[in-house]
Amino acid sequence: MFRFTSSTGKARSNPVYVQGFDNKDMDWDAETNAGITAPGETIVSSLEFMRGHGTFPDGDEVAATVAGTLQRVNKLISVKPIRSRYTPEIGDLVVARIVEVQPRRWKVDANGRQDAVLMLSSVNLPGGIQRRKLESDELQMRTFFEEGDLLVAEVQAFFADGAMSLHTRSLRYGKLRNGQMITVPPILIKRLKSHFCALTCGVDVILGINGYIWVSKHVKENQQVGEEGFDAESVYSNKNDYIDATTRMAIVRVSNIIKIMARYYYPISDIVLNQAYDWIVENDYELKDLLNEDIGEALIAAMSTTYQ
């Protein structure tokens, strides 16, 4: 019932994610530096390269201002910090939470530096998508989304102050139910072809690029709420479906895997999650075991040796 440790609760060894970076024309060596810049560390000559975000000129050199991974686009060198808020880009899929309901818009927390905005005009309304917005819609905004609601959306545009504007005008976007949310550092989410992942264990995972991950019961393709006969009742419903015990356990298992990966800074994708899930099933670990630091470490070790 009670288990103790004398460690501080942080990961004991901390293998940090190295984003595949190798560049021969630069003097900076990803191998010796574990792929991570230190603040103040010189990276390249400023005569050959241009400075991007996360760098500053240090005489004839370009030095990093943050601890992070190097990124290069042609001659532009930038450092992406390991630990930071989510920097939005248009088209990103994000999981977000409603913070406030305002006139004709919702304020949304999407792990960015500022709250995101979801306009009433960028959501699907009941009664077909091409419907005009009525005054009555403005008055019943809370029937669509209210404070605390989770939603999956796409970054649509930016405002002048840099805040992102979201939209949910797709079948796959909208309110989330039947599951639980886990937060990880945004840098760990790889950009994938699709961020809606159906894992083999019968669990759906939405990997928001902002570091919010939604783990939920699998919904079959043909049972998704359709565009035709758009049903506000089910799209904006707060009621969960019936979820059996096996699915609930699978959801917990996936959530715990994600938490372990976040602790060890291991990049997260659907493939990795499937592999980790299989590893756990193979080794016959109980749900509770996953909270154990040793097993977490073993999982990461197995992931980085066997599956790469």
Binding site: M1, F2, R3, F4, T5, S6, S7, T8, G9, R97, D109, E147, G148, D149, L150, K175, L176, R177, N178, G179, Q180, M181, N238, K239, N240, I243, A245, R248, M249, V252, R253, S255, N256, K259, E286, L287, K288, L290, L291, N292, E293
Partner: protein
């Protein structure tokens, strides 16, 4: 973070807990604690007389004991006192404004102070924690005593802050060493000593004196004290085993869970904090109770919960003490 849960999330948590077998968001059984990390002594606060840092999941509390010499006036009787103070780091509750944080701080301080100083009017036959402890804290009976400052800082709150706070305080008190003191008397060098021996110094150690003089004189004669040895070589607090411990039960109509996370606390807001203290032989003594959050509780149900709580508290104290003993070599 100041997240409000959506209705779907809340109902998901509650349904999982009430289904059979009950399941929590991280796979724990309802009565399991998260892994408890304990650090005591110099690693936490080297300048304190005793200190401890407890981390349970996302909740982290540092507690430290500082002893201070206090002149006793006649109204204080012959006792050392204990003074509790809890501070919350602003990072623990970033969504709250200054006043709300102060409220939480004074809430936690008051429950701690009330529990640790509940000495008067005790109906129990065994001496209370404070009673036992104040014997160690006495320097010169009726004149001087140690004032025990028990300070706790809530560094972060990931749920279940009451249990962690009491655990940290218990660990810090366990870790405390009270410096040994020796009473000292001033005498006129021209006069002869009580025992008839000629004094060379102004100070005469009371211990020598007692051998030949009457015991009752010691309180009146002793004027001051000195430390016998180094600051950190002291004796442990008497009765530290009786230091109370809190158990928080988050209540649903049919089940209760222990050590709720912040999200679980939001979905299951009704909680019952029960505080127990245990004697050396393991006899439980009920030290306090608070019910927090909305809702009510049938009386019959409560009786069962108190018994359950006693069981949990006993287990927690046993495992915490064995952990503390291994750390304190």
């Amino acid at each position: 973070m100041a997240t409000i849960l959506s209705k779907a999330e809340k109902s998901y948590i509650v349904t999982s807990l009430t289904s059979s077998p009950p399941l929590r968001q991280d796979g724990r059984a309802p009565h399991d604690y998260r892994i408890i990390s304990v650090i005591t002594g110099d690693e936490v606060a080297p300048l304190a007389n005793g200190s401890a840092k407890i981390r349970v999941g996302g909740t982290e509390v540092v507690s430290a004991v500082r002893l201070e010499v206090e002149d006793l006036t006649s109204t204080d009787a012959h006792k050392g006192r204990i003074r509790c103070n809890v501070t919350c780091s602003p990072a623990a509750y970033p969504h709250l404004n200054g006043n709300q944080q102060d409220d939480i701080q004074s809430d936690l301080t008051s429950i701690l102070q009330a529990t640790f100083t509940s000495n008067d009017g005790s109906t129990s036959t065994t001496p209370t924690f404070l009673h036992q402890m104040s014997e160690t804290l006495t320097i010169l009976p009726g004149r001087k005593a140690w004032l025990l400052n028990l300070d706790a800082v809530v560094l972060s709150d990931g749920g279940n802050v009451y249990d962690v706070l009491f655990m940290a305080c218990r660990a810090a008190l366990w870790n405390t060493r009270v410096p040994k003191t020796r009473a000292v008397e001033y005498r006129d060098p021209t006069q002869k000593g009580v025992a008839g021996e000629k004094t060379i110094n102004n100070d005469v150690e009371m211990t020598d004196l007692w051998k030949s003089s009457v015991q009752t004189k010691k309180a009146t004669k002793a004027a001051d004290f000195e430390l016998e040895d180094y600051w950190d070589h002291g004796e442990p607090l008497a009765g530290r085993a009786r230091c109370p411990i809190a158990i928080t039960l988050n209540l649903l109509p049919t089940v209760h869970i222990l050590d709720a996370t912040r999200t679980e606390e939001q979905a299951v807001p009704l909680k019952l904090v029960i505080i127990y203290s245990f004697s050396q032989d393991g006899d439980a003594c009920f030290a306090g109770m608070r019910m927090l959050g909305p809702g009510d509780l049938p009386l019959e149900y409560l009786k069962g919960l108190l018994g359950e709580g006693e069981k949990y508290a006993k287990n927690l104290i046993l495992s915490l003490d064995s952990q503390l003993k291994t750390q304190w070599s």
